[in-house]
């Protein structure tokens, strides 16, 4: 099995799951036209959880986390993020989006802005922060993802791994309480995967609530406190990583694990 090699031991002291609910999804259904992508999803995420969502492609895992900040609209059921229910009310949507950070597979940095401007844009225009304050915080997070020296370059001049770390810093600048990762390492070369995973591990060590769609089973094993397996638009199995990998219950999970490990 692939496992992540880190330069340091994972510090679990702050990885505590509280009983405060961060995300509550009740009986949620979604269709693309007449295609039923998500079926009866029930999921409660507690503050401080690190959840990895795995599953074959087309199983609806990306769609699920994109519903959480309403990049996709669900048609039935409820999604409640930090006490705010996602409805067609734009105010609620904006509130949720300002509390939920998202990292994409293809980074989606803004190519016409420098790294620093990428990071300060939303704080300045959405949270109405003074520029100086926003820049200071952006530099703080850029240091955290270990690329402060790139602050005045443009995204096109950075490597994929660096771009993804900038994308993480950009999300963090909005001070989110929850981070969503949509296959953050799938578009990267193997050597760059490590640097991005390290950043994600550090984030987990600080107690961030994280939902990751990823194929990095090493990350799931070592960082996640819960692994969710999805297939055909439904949650097939969820468990602690140890149990999930060593003792899968459903046939579908067993087949999936035998194919990827």
């Amino acid at each position: 099995m692939s496992s992540i090699t880190l330069d340091h031991q994972i510090d679990r002291s702050k990885m505590a799951v509280s009983d405060e609910v961060a995300i509550e999804i009740r009986n949620m259904n979604k269709w693309y036209g007449s295609f039923h992508v998500l079926r009866d999803i029930d999921l409660t995420v507690y503050q401080g959880e690190r959840i990895v969502i795995a599953g074959p492609s087309g199983s609806g895992k990306s769609t699920l986390i994109r519903c959480i900040n309403r990049l996709e609209e669900h048609q039935e059921g409820q999604i409640i993020v930090d006490g705010t229910e996602l409805t067609s009310d734009l105010k609620n949507v904006d509130k949720v989006r300002s509390e939920v950070g998202m990292v994409f597979q293809h980074f989606n940095l803004f190519p016409h802005l420098t790294i620093l401007e990428n990071c300060t844009l939303a704080p300045i225009w959405v949270r109405k922060e003074p520029r100086k304050e926003a820049e200071e915080r952006a530099m703080h997070f850029l240091e955290k993802v270990k690329i402060p020296e790139q602050a005045h370059k443009y995204p096109g001049m950075l490597s994929g791994g660096q771009q993804q770390r900038v994308a993480i810093a950009r999300s963090l600048c909005m001070m989110p309480r929850i981070m969503l990762f949509d296959e953050p390492t799938s578009a990267l070369d193997p050597e760059m995967i490590k640097e991005v995973l390290e950043t994600m591990v550090e984030l987990a060590e600080e107690g961030m609530t994280m939902l990751c769609v990823t194929h990095e089973m090493g990350f799931a094993k070592e960082v996640a406190n819960r692994v969710i397996f999805m297939d055909a638009g439904q949650i097939v199995e969820q468990n602690e990583p140890e149990e999930f990998f060593n003792n899968p219950q459903s046939e579908r999970t067993k087949l999936f694990l035998s194919q990827i490990l």
Partner: protein
Amino acid sequence: MSDMSYVRSEMLPERAPPASSVGVVGWMRQNLFSGIVNSILTIVSLILIYMVLAAILPWVFSPTWNGTSQNDCREIVGNGHHAACWGVINDRWQQLLFGFYPNGSEGGADQRWRPIVAFALLFVAVTPVLFNMISRRMNWVLLLAVLGLTGLYLGGAVGMIVGLVLLGAAGFVGFKALSTDKEARAAEIEAGAKRLPNPLIFSAIYPFIAPWLLWGGTIWLPIAAALGFVIGYFAFVFASRALGSLIGIIVAVVAAIIWWMVLTSVFANAVDSILPIGLEAVESRKFGGFMLSITIGVVAIACSLPIGIVLALGRQSDLMIVKALCVGFIEFIRGVPLITLLFVASTLLNIFMPPGTNFDIILRVLIMVTLFASAYMAEVIRGGLAALPRGQYEAADALGLDYWKAQRLIIMPQALKISIPGIVSTFIGVFKDTTLVSIIGLLDPLGLSNAIRADQAWNGLVWELYGFIALLFFVFCFSMSRYSMYLERRLHTGHR
């Protein structure tokens, strides 16, 4: 099998490329004589270029600048020689530039300084928009200098004093610009020294100054027109506070339109009767020549870009009615030749107006050309929007930017940058299309050239006139094209 293992013991140093691949010789080998076919083509092309130039240059360089008529020109170059008769340009260039704009020959003062000043101010107004390398200081120096020179030209005690004061101010500001280097200026700003006001202020008021300079009349009319925006703004502030932003916008637009349609002229006339300040009015039918082309071209270019952006966004909108309106407008305008629209402007539009309204012919043409350009602009910008990856919209959404902020900060800067070549092509096309107004009787340079040719002295001169007009158009279009290349380079930020 032989031994395949190999270890390099030392790395190779860098060497200079062979002499035949660098320098003039290398360049010629690569680009002109890289093979037999290429060598033959190079030689044939050189011969062709020589033949063309040999035919044209003697015609161009003919000593006929002072010829007073076609026959006079013939005598100067001698019989049998075929050469240009530049006397016609010397005689009529002012007309080609200004049409029949009053020059004092029919009594009254020479008014041609007005279009010249308007044109000079145009540059002052657009530089802060077009270039960010020109400093604020430089812009104010230019503005003060233009105004100062105008004052000197107009003469009289007041004009002289105002002119000298303004020129002095320009010199002072310019001298400070030269004497303070970058670091000193940065220190000054850091210390809280007053910075010069943003030159974009002048760019904003220029659209009201220019028509006043060109058409003249009371100064209160442009001021009243500008007041319409102020009224709209306050209407928006109050209405949106009470009724929400969408209704606020509608109320603001309605208030501004009512002001412009009904009250502007009343207000302007009333104030003018108390405090008459103004320039001698010049009628639209006296406009002509290159001045007319530039007026129509600049207005159409400046207005078509924002209207095009709105139309392109409307075309992508989720709101059915907005989308249908935009698609309908774009497809209709693009489906109709510009000449048809111009004929509508010159003849049909009056039928739809309430009787007695006198709707200026140039204004009508301006509206039509602008609408025409906007439709094309909308499609060019739509191309830029379509080229943006979906991820950009998603990232903007995920960061919590609303629609307008996302458009303004993320989508439009990139979409417009992608569409720069298309946008500038449209600009150039619009500028050249302004010559079509000669068909509805406006005297643009082409229309004037017909009039000049009807003169006994210059009967039948074609090449000289068209060559001169072509040169003027080329200067403008080529500058636009170079500017677009400069802009693309400036906005280039590496790969996407």
